[in-house]
Protein backbone atom coordinates (compact mmCIF):
# COMPACT_ATOMS: atom_id res chain seq x y z
CA UNK A 1 0.00 0.00 0.00
CA UNK A 2 1.85 3.15 -1.09
CA UNK A 3 2.09 5.68 1.72
CA UNK A 4 1.66 9.39 1.21
CA UNK A 5 4.67 11.06 2.79
CA UNK A 6 3.75 14.58 1.74
CA UNK A 7 0.84 15.08 4.04
CA UNK A 8 0.35 14.77 7.77
CA UNK A 9 -2.36 12.18 7.82
CA UNK A 10 -4.92 11.41 10.42
CA UNK A 11 -4.81 8.11 12.31
CA UNK A 12 -4.74 5.02 10.06
CA UNK A 13 -7.94 3.64 11.45
CA UNK A 14 -10.15 6.66 10.91
CA UNK A 15 -13.66 5.91 9.78
CA UNK A 16 -16.41 7.86 8.15
CA UNK A 17 -19.05 8.90 10.75
CA UNK A 18 -21.68 7.96 8.19
CA UNK A 19 -21.10 4.31 9.04
CA UNK A 20 -22.52 4.84 12.49
CA UNK A 21 -25.60 6.74 11.38
CA UNK A 22 -28.74 4.79 12.13
CA UNK A 23 -30.61 4.29 8.91
CA UNK A 24 -34.20 5.55 9.25
CA UNK A 25 -36.71 2.94 8.17
CA UNK A 26 -37.96 3.48 4.67
CA UNK A 27 -34.87 5.21 3.36
CA UNK A 28 -34.37 2.36 0.94
CA UNK A 29 -35.47 3.64 -2.44
CA UNK A 30 -38.84 2.41 -3.47
CA UNK A 31 -38.33 1.34 -7.02
CA UNK A 32 -41.53 2.92 -8.10
CA UNK A 33 -41.42 6.09 -6.13
CA UNK A 34 -40.54 9.47 -7.56
CA UNK A 35 -36.88 10.47 -7.76
CA UNK A 36 -35.47 12.69 -5.07
CA UNK A 37 -34.78 15.65 -7.36
CA UNK A 38 -38.15 15.65 -9.11
CA UNK A 39 -37.08 14.00 -12.36
CA UNK A 40 -39.06 11.17 -13.89
CA UNK A 41 -38.31 7.44 -13.82
CA UNK A 42 -38.32 5.43 -17.03
CA UNK A 43 -37.92 8.55 -19.12
CA UNK A 44 -34.90 10.15 -20.67
CA UNK A 45 -34.75 12.91 -18.09
CA UNK A 46 -31.17 14.11 -17.86
CA UNK A 47 -30.10 16.77 -15.42
CA UNK A 48 -29.77 20.27 -16.91
CA UNK A 49 -26.15 20.87 -17.72
CA UNK A 50 -24.01 23.98 -17.41
CA UNK A 51 -20.86 24.01 -19.53
CA UNK A 52 -18.23 26.61 -20.08
CA UNK A 53 -15.04 26.45 -22.11
CA UNK A 54 -11.77 28.24 -21.67
CA UNK A 55 -11.52 28.49 -17.91
CA UNK A 56 -7.86 27.64 -17.44
CA UNK A 57 -5.65 30.18 -19.13
CA UNK A 58 -2.50 28.04 -19.11
CA UNK A 59 -4.06 25.08 -20.80
CA UNK A 60 -4.47 24.85 -24.54
CA UNK A 61 -8.12 23.98 -24.03
CA UNK A 62 -10.29 23.51 -21.00
CA UNK A 63 -13.90 22.94 -20.06
CA UNK A 64 -16.02 22.87 -16.94
CA UNK A 65 -19.26 20.98 -16.62
CA UNK A 66 -21.90 21.00 -13.93
CA UNK A 67 -24.82 18.60 -13.94
CA UNK A 68 -26.90 18.77 -10.82
CA UNK A 69 -24.25 18.59 -8.12
CA UNK A 70 -21.64 16.76 -10.21
CA UNK A 71 -18.87 19.19 -11.02
CA UNK A 72 -15.87 18.39 -13.15
CA UNK A 73 -13.23 20.20 -15.06
CA UNK A 74 -10.94 19.09 -17.82
CA UNK A 75 -7.74 20.53 -19.23
CA UNK A 76 -6.04 19.61 -22.47
CA UNK A 77 -2.37 20.15 -23.16
CA UNK A 78 -0.92 19.53 -26.56
CA UNK A 79 -0.07 18.59 -29.16
CA UNK A 80 3.38 18.43 -27.62
CA UNK A 81 6.46 16.54 -28.59
CA UNK A 82 6.61 13.05 -27.13
CA UNK A 83 9.56 12.09 -24.95
CA UNK A 84 9.61 8.49 -26.07
CA UNK A 85 9.78 7.93 -29.76
CA UNK A 86 8.84 4.42 -30.71
CA UNK A 87 7.63 3.33 -34.09
CA UNK A 88 3.91 3.89 -33.56
CA UNK A 89 4.50 7.52 -32.73
CA UNK A 90 5.95 8.20 -36.14
CA UNK A 91 2.62 7.56 -37.79
CA UNK A 92 0.08 9.02 -35.43
CA UNK A 93 -0.21 10.94 -32.22
CA UNK A 94 -0.66 9.55 -28.76
CA UNK A 95 -3.47 10.37 -26.37
CA UNK A 96 -2.89 10.26 -22.62
CA UNK A 97 -5.83 10.51 -20.28
CA UNK A 98 -5.86 10.96 -16.56
CA UNK A 99 -8.94 11.12 -14.39
CA UNK A 100 -8.65 12.01 -10.75
CA UNK A 101 -11.08 12.48 -7.93
CA UNK A 102 -10.49 15.19 -5.39
CA UNK A 103 -10.45 13.58 -1.93
CA UNK A 104 -13.44 15.67 -0.87
CA UNK A 105 -15.46 14.84 -3.97
CA UNK A 106 -17.26 11.74 -2.69
CA UNK A 107 -19.20 11.32 0.56
CA UNK A 108 -16.40 9.01 1.78
CA UNK A 109 -13.01 10.63 1.77
CA UNK A 110 -10.78 9.32 -0.98
CA UNK A 111 -7.02 9.46 -1.14
CA UNK A 112 -4.81 11.49 -3.47
CA UNK A 113 -2.96 8.41 -4.60
CA UNK A 114 -4.59 6.91 -7.64
CA UNK A 115 -6.50 3.83 -6.71
CA UNK A 116 -7.26 1.11 -9.20
CA UNK A 117 -10.72 2.58 -9.77
CA UNK A 118 -9.23 5.87 -10.95
CA UNK A 119 -6.95 4.02 -13.36
CA UNK A 120 -9.97 2.13 -14.63
CA UNK A 121 -11.86 5.36 -15.29
CA UNK A 122 -8.81 6.84 -17.04
CA UNK A 123 -8.62 3.80 -19.29
CA UNK A 124 -12.29 4.00 -20.18
CA UNK A 125 -12.00 7.71 -20.89
CA UNK A 126 -9.10 6.93 -23.20
CA UNK A 127 -11.07 4.26 -25.06
CA UNK A 128 -14.04 6.57 -25.43
CA UNK A 129 -12.08 9.54 -26.76
CA UNK A 130 -9.64 7.80 -29.06
CA UNK A 131 -12.00 7.00 -31.95
CA UNK A 132 -13.09 10.62 -32.19
CA UNK A 133 -9.67 12.19 -32.56
CA UNK A 134 -7.81 12.56 -35.86
CA UNK A 135 -4.58 11.35 -34.31
CA UNK A 136 -3.01 10.64 -37.69
CA UNK A 137 -2.81 14.39 -38.18
CA UNK A 138 -0.47 14.75 -35.23
CA UNK A 139 2.46 12.40 -35.79
CA UNK A 140 5.19 12.36 -33.16
CA UNK A 141 2.97 14.33 -30.76
CA UNK A 142 1.25 13.75 -27.48
CA UNK A 143 -2.10 15.11 -26.37
CA UNK A 144 -2.77 15.08 -22.64
CA UNK A 145 -6.26 15.16 -21.22
CA UNK A 146 -6.62 15.65 -17.47
CA UNK A 147 -10.00 15.43 -15.82
CA UNK A 148 -10.48 16.47 -12.21
CA UNK A 149 -13.70 15.59 -10.45
CA UNK A 150 -14.54 18.29 -7.94
CA UNK A 151 -17.79 16.86 -6.71
CA UNK A 152 -19.13 13.40 -7.44
CA UNK A 153 -22.89 13.34 -7.49
CA UNK A 154 -23.46 10.49 -9.89
CA UNK A 155 -22.69 9.51 -13.50
CA UNK A 156 -19.20 10.89 -13.28
CA UNK A 157 -17.71 8.95 -16.19
CA UNK A 158 -20.41 10.07 -18.62
CA UNK A 159 -19.92 13.72 -17.80
CA UNK A 160 -16.14 13.33 -17.85
CA UNK A 161 -16.34 12.09 -21.44
CA UNK A 162 -18.49 15.04 -22.46
CA UNK A 163 -16.25 17.52 -20.66
CA UNK A 164 -13.07 16.04 -22.13
CA UNK A 165 -14.35 16.14 -25.70
CA UNK A 166 -15.44 19.76 -25.19
CA UNK A 167 -11.99 20.65 -23.87
CA UNK A 168 -10.36 18.93 -26.85
CA UNK A 169 -12.55 20.93 -29.21
CA UNK A 170 -11.71 24.11 -27.30
CA UNK A 171 -8.02 23.28 -27.73
CA UNK A 172 -8.48 23.10 -31.47
CA UNK A 173 -7.58 19.41 -31.77
CA UNK A 174 -9.11 18.01 -34.93
CA UNK A 175 -11.92 15.60 -34.19
CA UNK A 176 -14.41 13.62 -36.21
CA UNK A 177 -17.20 14.45 -33.82
CA UNK A 178 -17.90 15.40 -30.21
CA UNK A 179 -18.16 12.49 -27.80
CA UNK A 180 -21.08 12.64 -25.40
CA UNK A 181 -21.61 10.42 -22.42
CA UNK A 182 -24.79 9.24 -20.77
CA UNK A 183 -25.44 6.73 -18.07
CA UNK A 184 -28.43 4.93 -16.63
CA UNK A 185 -29.08 2.81 -13.60
CA UNK A 186 -31.41 -0.14 -13.93
CA UNK A 187 -33.35 -1.09 -10.83
CA UNK A 188 -35.66 -4.03 -11.35
CA UNK A 189 -38.11 -3.14 -14.06
CA UNK A 190 -37.54 0.59 -14.07
CA UNK A 191 -34.53 2.67 -14.93
CA UNK A 192 -33.29 6.14 -14.09
CA UNK A 193 -31.24 8.19 -16.53
CA UNK A 194 -28.29 10.23 -15.30
CA UNK A 195 -28.43 8.84 -11.76
CA UNK A 196 -27.30 10.83 -8.77
CA UNK A 197 -24.78 9.38 -6.30
CA UNK A 198 -27.48 8.05 -3.99
CA UNK A 199 -29.38 6.46 -6.87
CA UNK A 200 -26.20 4.90 -8.22
CA UNK A 201 -25.17 3.26 -4.99
CA UNK A 202 -28.48 2.28 -3.50
CA UNK A 203 -29.02 -1.43 -3.26
CA UNK A 204 -32.70 -2.15 -3.39
CA UNK A 205 -33.91 -4.29 -0.55
CA UNK A 206 -35.39 -6.87 -2.89
CA UNK A 207 -32.39 -8.83 -4.11
CA UNK A 208 -33.81 -8.32 -7.52
CA UNK A 209 -32.73 -9.47 -10.88
CA UNK A 210 -31.96 -6.75 -13.35
CA UNK A 211 -29.92 -4.40 -11.29
CA UNK A 212 -27.00 -2.54 -12.68
CA UNK A 213 -25.50 0.55 -14.21
CA UNK A 214 -24.58 1.31 -17.79
CA UNK A 215 -22.48 4.13 -19.26
CA UNK A 216 -22.31 4.83 -22.99
CA UNK A 217 -20.05 7.23 -24.89
CA UNK A 218 -21.57 8.20 -28.20
CA UNK A 219 -20.63 10.17 -31.33
CA UNK A 220 -23.97 11.69 -32.41
CA UNK A 221 -23.23 12.79 -35.98
CA UNK A 222 -21.56 9.54 -36.93
CA UNK A 223 -23.93 7.33 -34.93
CA UNK A 224 -21.07 5.34 -33.42
CA UNK A 225 -20.57 4.11 -29.90
CA UNK A 226 -17.04 4.72 -28.74
CA UNK A 227 -17.36 3.55 -25.15
CA UNK A 228 -19.57 1.09 -23.35
CA UNK A 229 -19.35 -0.11 -19.80
CA UNK A 230 -21.84 -1.92 -17.62
CA UNK A 231 -21.86 -3.75 -14.33
CA UNK A 232 -24.39 -5.35 -12.02
CA UNK A 233 -26.56 -8.13 -13.33
CA UNK A 234 -28.98 -7.49 -16.17
CA UNK A 235 -30.80 -9.42 -18.82
CA UNK A 236 -29.53 -8.94 -22.35
CA UNK A 237 -32.76 -7.27 -23.51
CA UNK A 238 -32.52 -4.77 -20.67
CA UNK A 239 -28.96 -4.03 -21.67
CA UNK A 240 -29.96 -3.41 -25.28
CA UNK A 241 -32.85 -1.17 -24.24
CA UNK A 242 -30.52 0.66 -21.87
CA UNK A 243 -28.04 1.37 -24.66
CA UNK A 244 -30.85 2.83 -26.77
CA UNK A 245 -31.95 5.00 -23.86
CA UNK A 246 -28.43 6.29 -23.34
CA UNK A 247 -28.16 7.16 -27.04
CA UNK A 248 -31.37 9.17 -26.73
CA UNK A 249 -29.94 10.92 -23.69
CA UNK A 250 -26.84 11.85 -25.69
CA UNK A 251 -28.96 13.32 -28.48
CA UNK A 252 -30.74 15.47 -25.89
CA UNK A 253 -27.45 16.82 -24.61
CA UNK A 254 -25.95 17.53 -28.05
CA UNK A 255 -27.49 20.98 -28.79
CA UNK A 256 -26.44 22.35 -25.39
CA UNK A 257 -22.83 21.28 -25.89
CA UNK A 258 -22.75 22.61 -29.44
CA UNK A 259 -24.07 25.98 -28.27
CA UNK A 260 -21.48 26.23 -25.50
CA UNK A 261 -18.69 25.48 -27.96
CA UNK A 262 -19.97 28.04 -30.48
CA UNK A 263 -20.17 30.65 -27.73
CA UNK A 264 -16.60 29.95 -26.65
CA UNK A 265 -15.31 30.24 -30.20
CA UNK A 266 -17.20 33.49 -30.72
CA UNK A 267 -15.75 34.91 -27.55
CA UNK A 268 -12.21 33.92 -28.46
CA UNK A 269 -12.40 35.14 -32.04
CA UNK A 270 -15.29 37.56 -32.47
CA UNK A 271 -16.64 37.73 -36.02
CA UNK A 272 -15.56 40.80 -38.01
CA UNK A 273 -18.00 43.67 -37.51
CA UNK A 274 -20.27 44.50 -40.41
CA UNK A 275 -19.19 48.09 -40.92
Amino acid sequence: MPTDTKRVRGPELSQNPGLFACKPAGVVHATHGPRADGRQRDQVDVRPVFVRCGLVSQAKGSAYIEAGNTKLMCCVYGPRETERKDETDMKCGRLTTDMRFAPFSCPERGSWIQGSQDKDFSLMLHESLQPALCLHKYPRSQIEVNVMVLENSGSVLAHAVTCASLALADAGIEMYDLVLGCSIRQDGASYVVDPSYVEENSCSSVSGENQGGLTVAFLPSLNQISGLQSDGEMAEETLTAGVRTCIEGCYKLYPVIQQALAKAVRRAAPPPSES
Binding site: Q15, S116, E209, Q211, L214, L228, D231, A235
Partner: protein, 291 residues
Amino acid sequence: MAAVQVSEAEKVYILHGIRDDLRVDGRGCEDYRHMEIETDVVSNTDGSAKVTLGHTAVLVGIKAEIGKPRPMVPDEGYLEFFVDCSANATPEFEGRGGEELGTELSNTLYKVFNNKHSVDLKSLCISTGEHCWVLYVDVLLLQCDGNLYDAISVAIKAALFNTKIPRVHISADDEGGKEIELSDDPYDCMRLNVENVPCIVTLCKVGHRHVVDATLQEKACSVASLIISVTHKGMVTCTRKVGGGSLDPESIFEMTEAGKRVGKALHAPLMKLLQQEESLGKKHQKVGFLG
Protein backbone atom coordinates in the same frame (compact mmCIF):
# COMPACT_ATOMS: atom_id res chain seq x y z
CA MET B 1 -1.45 -7.51 -24.91
CA ALA B 2 1.47 -8.94 -26.82
CA ALA B 3 1.07 -7.74 -30.34
CA VAL B 4 2.10 -9.42 -33.54
CA GLN B 5 3.01 -7.63 -36.70
CA VAL B 6 0.56 -8.43 -39.43
CA SER B 7 1.12 -7.30 -43.00
CA GLU B 8 -1.59 -5.66 -45.08
CA ALA B 9 -1.92 -8.71 -47.30
CA GLU B 10 -2.42 -10.95 -44.27
CA LYS B 11 -5.03 -8.55 -42.90
CA VAL B 12 -6.99 -8.67 -46.14
CA TYR B 13 -6.75 -12.45 -46.17
CA ILE B 14 -8.09 -12.74 -42.62
CA LEU B 15 -10.82 -10.18 -43.29
CA HIS B 16 -12.11 -11.89 -46.41
CA GLY B 17 -12.04 -15.27 -44.73
CA ILE B 18 -14.06 -14.05 -41.76
CA ARG B 19 -16.54 -12.43 -44.10
CA ASP B 20 -17.21 -15.93 -45.44
CA ASP B 21 -17.34 -17.47 -41.95
CA LEU B 22 -14.01 -19.22 -42.36
CA ARG B 23 -11.09 -18.38 -40.13
CA VAL B 24 -7.42 -19.07 -40.72
CA ASP B 25 -7.39 -22.24 -38.60
CA GLY B 26 -10.65 -23.54 -40.07
CA ARG B 27 -12.99 -22.58 -37.23
CA GLY B 28 -16.34 -20.88 -37.66
CA CYS B 29 -16.84 -17.38 -36.31
CA GLU B 30 -18.32 -18.59 -33.03
CA ASP B 31 -16.09 -21.56 -32.28
CA TYR B 32 -13.59 -21.81 -29.49
CA ARG B 33 -10.16 -23.35 -29.80
CA HIS B 34 -9.29 -26.57 -28.06
CA MET B 35 -9.64 -25.99 -24.33
CA GLU B 36 -8.07 -28.09 -21.58
CA ILE B 37 -8.99 -27.63 -17.94
CA GLU B 38 -7.39 -29.26 -14.97
CA THR B 39 -8.16 -28.54 -11.33
CA ASP B 40 -6.23 -29.11 -8.14
CA VAL B 41 -2.82 -28.59 -9.72
CA VAL B 42 -1.18 -26.65 -6.88
CA SER B 43 -1.32 -28.37 -3.53
CA ASN B 44 -0.61 -25.32 -1.35
CA THR B 45 -3.77 -23.53 -2.38
CA ASP B 46 -7.33 -24.09 -1.26
CA GLY B 47 -8.40 -24.35 -4.87
CA SER B 48 -6.61 -24.10 -8.16
CA ALA B 49 -7.14 -24.64 -11.85
CA LYS B 50 -5.14 -24.48 -15.02
CA VAL B 51 -6.75 -23.70 -18.36
CA THR B 52 -5.11 -23.98 -21.76
CA LEU B 53 -7.02 -22.40 -24.62
CA GLY B 54 -5.08 -22.95 -27.82
CA HIS B 55 -1.70 -21.53 -26.87
CA THR B 56 -2.99 -19.33 -24.05
CA ALA B 57 -2.30 -20.84 -20.63
CA VAL B 58 -3.64 -19.45 -17.38
CA LEU B 59 -3.15 -20.71 -13.81
CA VAL B 60 -5.48 -19.63 -11.00
CA GLY B 61 -4.82 -20.25 -7.33
CA ILE B 62 -7.30 -19.43 -4.59
CA LYS B 63 -6.36 -19.05 -0.98
CA ALA B 64 -8.92 -18.54 1.74
CA GLU B 65 -7.90 -16.44 4.70
CA ILE B 66 -9.75 -15.16 7.70
CA GLY B 67 -10.14 -11.42 7.72
CA LYS B 68 -12.32 -8.56 8.85
CA PRO B 69 -15.44 -7.96 6.80
CA ARG B 70 -15.99 -4.69 4.98
CA PRO B 71 -17.60 -2.00 7.17
CA MET B 72 -20.59 -1.49 4.87
CA VAL B 73 -21.46 -5.19 4.64
CA PRO B 74 -20.56 -6.84 7.94
CA ASP B 75 -22.29 -10.12 7.21
CA GLU B 76 -20.49 -11.00 3.98
CA GLY B 77 -17.06 -12.17 2.98
CA TYR B 78 -15.41 -10.95 -0.19
CA LEU B 79 -13.10 -11.84 -3.07
CA GLU B 80 -9.88 -10.10 -3.99
CA PHE B 81 -8.50 -10.49 -7.48
CA PHE B 82 -4.99 -10.10 -8.64
CA VAL B 83 -3.70 -10.81 -12.12
CA ASP B 84 0.00 -11.23 -12.68
CA CYS B 85 1.34 -11.13 -16.20
CA SER B 86 4.47 -13.17 -15.81
CA ALA B 87 7.50 -12.42 -17.92
CA ASN B 88 7.29 -16.00 -19.17
CA ALA B 89 4.39 -15.01 -21.38
CA THR B 90 6.18 -12.40 -23.46
CA PRO B 91 9.33 -10.36 -22.90
CA GLU B 92 7.17 -7.21 -22.92
CA PHE B 93 5.90 -8.21 -19.50
CA GLU B 94 9.31 -8.09 -17.91
CA GLY B 95 9.54 -5.92 -14.81
CA ARG B 96 6.59 -3.53 -14.69
CA GLY B 97 5.56 -3.92 -18.29
CA GLY B 98 2.71 -6.27 -17.55
CA GLU B 99 1.36 -4.18 -14.69
CA GLU B 100 -1.00 -2.12 -16.83
CA LEU B 101 -2.52 -5.15 -18.43
CA GLY B 102 -2.73 -6.85 -15.03
CA THR B 103 -4.63 -3.95 -13.45
CA GLU B 104 -7.00 -3.79 -16.42
CA LEU B 105 -7.76 -7.49 -16.12
CA SER B 106 -8.27 -7.40 -12.35
CA ASN B 107 -10.50 -4.30 -12.54
CA THR B 108 -12.69 -6.09 -15.05
CA LEU B 109 -12.85 -9.14 -12.79
CA TYR B 110 -14.01 -6.98 -9.89
CA LYS B 111 -16.80 -5.64 -12.07
CA VAL B 112 -17.79 -9.09 -13.27
CA PHE B 113 -18.23 -10.36 -9.72
CA ASN B 114 -19.78 -7.17 -8.40
CA ASN B 115 -23.30 -8.47 -7.96
CA LYS B 116 -25.27 -10.42 -5.40
CA HIS B 117 -25.68 -13.70 -7.20
CA SER B 118 -22.34 -14.76 -8.63
CA VAL B 119 -20.80 -15.99 -5.42
CA ASP B 120 -22.79 -16.43 -2.25
CA LEU B 121 -20.86 -14.02 -0.07
CA LYS B 122 -23.06 -14.59 2.97
CA SER B 123 -21.79 -18.16 3.20
CA LEU B 124 -18.30 -16.72 3.62
CA CYS B 125 -19.21 -15.01 6.87
CA ILE B 126 -17.89 -16.55 10.08
CA SER B 127 -19.14 -14.08 12.64
CA THR B 128 -20.92 -10.88 11.72
CA GLY B 129 -18.77 -7.80 11.91
CA GLU B 130 -15.70 -9.63 13.16
CA HIS B 131 -14.51 -12.47 11.01
CA CYS B 132 -15.16 -13.57 7.50
CA TRP B 133 -13.47 -15.58 4.77
CA VAL B 134 -11.56 -13.56 2.22
CA LEU B 135 -10.86 -15.46 -0.97
CA TYR B 136 -7.71 -14.25 -2.66
CA VAL B 137 -7.98 -15.20 -6.31
CA ASP B 138 -4.57 -14.96 -7.93
CA VAL B 139 -4.30 -15.38 -11.67
CA LEU B 140 -1.03 -16.10 -13.36
CA LEU B 141 -0.62 -15.76 -17.11
CA LEU B 142 1.75 -18.39 -18.34
CA GLN B 143 1.35 -18.05 -22.08
CA CYS B 144 -0.34 -15.34 -24.04
CA ASP B 145 -1.96 -16.08 -27.38
CA GLY B 146 -5.04 -13.91 -27.38
CA ASN B 147 -8.36 -14.14 -25.60
CA LEU B 148 -7.12 -13.76 -22.04
CA TYR B 149 -10.48 -12.79 -20.55
CA ASP B 150 -12.22 -15.99 -21.58
CA ALA B 151 -9.44 -18.25 -20.35
CA ILE B 152 -9.21 -16.39 -17.04
CA SER B 153 -12.93 -16.55 -16.36
CA VAL B 154 -13.14 -20.27 -17.10
CA ALA B 155 -10.12 -20.88 -14.89
CA ILE B 156 -11.67 -18.87 -12.05
CA LYS B 157 -14.90 -20.80 -12.31
CA ALA B 158 -13.02 -24.11 -12.22
CA ALA B 159 -10.84 -22.99 -9.32
CA LEU B 160 -13.85 -21.79 -7.31
CA PHE B 161 -15.49 -25.16 -7.94
CA ASN B 162 -12.36 -26.83 -6.65
CA THR B 163 -12.01 -24.60 -3.58
CA LYS B 164 -12.27 -26.36 -0.26
CA ILE B 165 -12.67 -23.91 2.61
CA PRO B 166 -11.94 -25.47 5.99
CA ARG B 167 -14.77 -25.43 8.47
CA VAL B 168 -14.29 -23.23 11.49
CA HIS B 169 -15.95 -23.40 14.83
CA ILE B 170 -16.46 -20.29 16.91
CA SER B 171 -16.39 -20.83 20.63
CA ALA B 172 -16.45 -18.38 23.48
CA ASP B 173 -13.24 -18.47 25.47
CA ASP B 174 -12.73 -17.61 29.14
CA GLU B 175 -12.80 -13.82 28.91
CA GLY B 176 -15.91 -13.67 26.77
CA GLY B 177 -14.00 -13.16 23.54
CA LYS B 178 -14.43 -15.36 20.51
CA GLU B 179 -12.01 -18.10 19.65
CA ILE B 180 -11.74 -19.65 16.24
CA GLU B 181 -11.00 -23.33 15.96
CA LEU B 182 -10.20 -25.06 12.74
CA SER B 183 -11.69 -28.49 12.37
CA ASP B 184 -9.14 -31.31 12.88
CA ASP B 185 -10.22 -33.36 9.91
CA PRO B 186 -8.45 -31.99 6.78
CA TYR B 187 -11.29 -33.24 4.59
CA ASP B 188 -14.00 -31.44 6.54
CA CYS B 189 -14.55 -28.45 4.36
CA MET B 190 -17.10 -26.20 2.78
CA ARG B 191 -17.54 -26.05 -0.97
CA LEU B 192 -18.81 -23.11 -2.98
CA ASN B 193 -21.77 -23.15 -5.29
CA VAL B 194 -20.43 -21.99 -8.63
CA GLU B 195 -23.65 -22.34 -10.65
CA ASN B 196 -24.01 -18.59 -10.99
CA VAL B 197 -20.38 -17.71 -11.62
CA PRO B 198 -20.28 -15.95 -14.99
CA CYS B 199 -18.01 -16.67 -17.92
CA ILE B 200 -16.54 -13.93 -20.05
CA VAL B 201 -16.87 -13.99 -23.83
CA THR B 202 -14.74 -11.67 -25.93
CA LEU B 203 -16.09 -10.74 -29.35
CA CYS B 204 -13.76 -8.96 -31.76
CA LYS B 205 -15.17 -6.90 -34.57
CA VAL B 206 -13.31 -7.82 -37.74
CA GLY B 207 -14.66 -6.14 -40.84
CA HIS B 208 -18.43 -6.39 -40.63
CA ARG B 209 -18.55 -9.57 -38.63
CA HIS B 210 -17.54 -10.55 -35.15
CA VAL B 211 -15.44 -13.50 -34.02
CA VAL B 212 -15.28 -15.32 -30.73
CA ASP B 213 -11.92 -16.39 -29.29
CA ALA B 214 -9.69 -14.35 -31.55
CA THR B 215 -6.04 -15.23 -31.98
CA LEU B 216 -3.44 -12.49 -31.86
CA GLN B 217 -3.43 -12.17 -35.66
CA GLU B 218 -7.20 -11.70 -35.77
CA LYS B 219 -6.98 -9.20 -32.94
CA ALA B 220 -4.47 -7.16 -34.95
CA CYS B 221 -7.08 -6.87 -37.73
CA SER B 222 -9.86 -5.67 -35.47
CA VAL B 223 -10.37 -2.16 -34.22
CA ALA B 224 -12.64 -2.84 -31.30
CA SER B 225 -13.84 -5.73 -29.16
CA LEU B 226 -16.68 -6.23 -26.76
CA ILE B 227 -16.25 -8.16 -23.54
CA ILE B 228 -19.45 -9.60 -22.14
CA SER B 229 -19.78 -11.77 -19.08
CA VAL B 230 -22.74 -14.14 -19.04
CA THR B 231 -24.17 -16.42 -16.36
CA HIS B 232 -25.73 -19.79 -17.07
CA LYS B 233 -29.19 -18.23 -16.98
CA GLY B 234 -28.25 -15.73 -19.67
CA MET B 235 -27.93 -12.70 -17.39
CA VAL B 236 -25.21 -10.26 -18.30
CA THR B 237 -23.06 -9.13 -15.42
CA CYS B 238 -20.54 -6.92 -17.10
CA THR B 239 -19.93 -5.52 -20.56
CA ARG B 240 -17.09 -3.42 -21.75
CA LYS B 241 -15.88 -2.15 -25.03
CA VAL B 242 -12.11 -2.31 -25.44
CA GLY B 243 -9.89 -1.11 -28.19
CA GLY B 244 -9.31 2.19 -29.90
CA GLY B 245 -12.11 2.05 -32.46
CA SER B 246 -15.81 2.78 -32.36
CA LEU B 247 -18.74 0.47 -32.92
CA ASP B 248 -22.11 0.89 -34.53
CA PRO B 249 -25.04 0.51 -32.11
CA GLU B 250 -26.42 -2.24 -34.37
CA SER B 251 -23.15 -4.16 -34.17
CA ILE B 252 -23.20 -3.85 -30.42
CA PHE B 253 -26.71 -5.31 -30.26
CA GLU B 254 -25.67 -8.14 -32.55
CA MET B 255 -22.54 -8.84 -30.56
CA THR B 256 -24.32 -8.84 -27.19
CA GLU B 257 -26.84 -11.30 -28.53
CA ALA B 258 -24.13 -13.56 -29.94
CA GLY B 259 -22.11 -13.22 -26.75
CA LYS B 260 -25.08 -14.20 -24.63
CA ARG B 261 -25.74 -17.22 -26.82
CA VAL B 262 -22.12 -18.41 -26.80
CA GLY B 263 -21.67 -17.71 -23.10
CA LYS B 264 -24.82 -19.51 -22.09
CA ALA B 265 -23.77 -22.55 -24.11
CA LEU B 266 -20.40 -22.63 -22.38
CA HIS B 267 -21.67 -23.29 -18.88
CA ALA B 268 -23.36 -26.68 -19.15
CA PRO B 269 -20.42 -28.62 -20.66
CA LEU B 270 -18.05 -26.89 -18.26
CA MET B 271 -20.00 -27.92 -15.16
CA LYS B 272 -20.34 -31.43 -16.48
CA LEU B 273 -16.61 -31.68 -17.06
CA LEU B 274 -15.80 -30.32 -13.62
CA GLN B 275 -18.16 -32.72 -11.92
CA GLN B 276 -16.77 -35.60 -13.93
CA GLU B 277 -13.22 -34.72 -12.91
CA GLU B 278 -14.29 -34.43 -9.29
CA SER B 279 -16.03 -37.78 -9.32
CA LEU B 280 -12.88 -39.53 -10.54
CA GLY B 281 -11.33 -38.51 -7.24
CA LYS B 282 -8.01 -40.17 -6.60
CA LYS B 283 -8.17 -42.16 -9.79
CA HIS B 284 -7.73 -39.32 -12.23
CA GLN B 285 -4.34 -38.99 -13.82
CA LYS B 286 -2.70 -35.71 -13.19
CA VAL B 287 -1.49 -34.17 -16.40
CA GLY B 288 0.27 -31.27 -14.77
CA PHE B 289 2.25 -28.70 -16.65
CA LEU B 290 4.00 -30.75 -19.24
CA GLY B 291 0.98 -32.42 -20.83
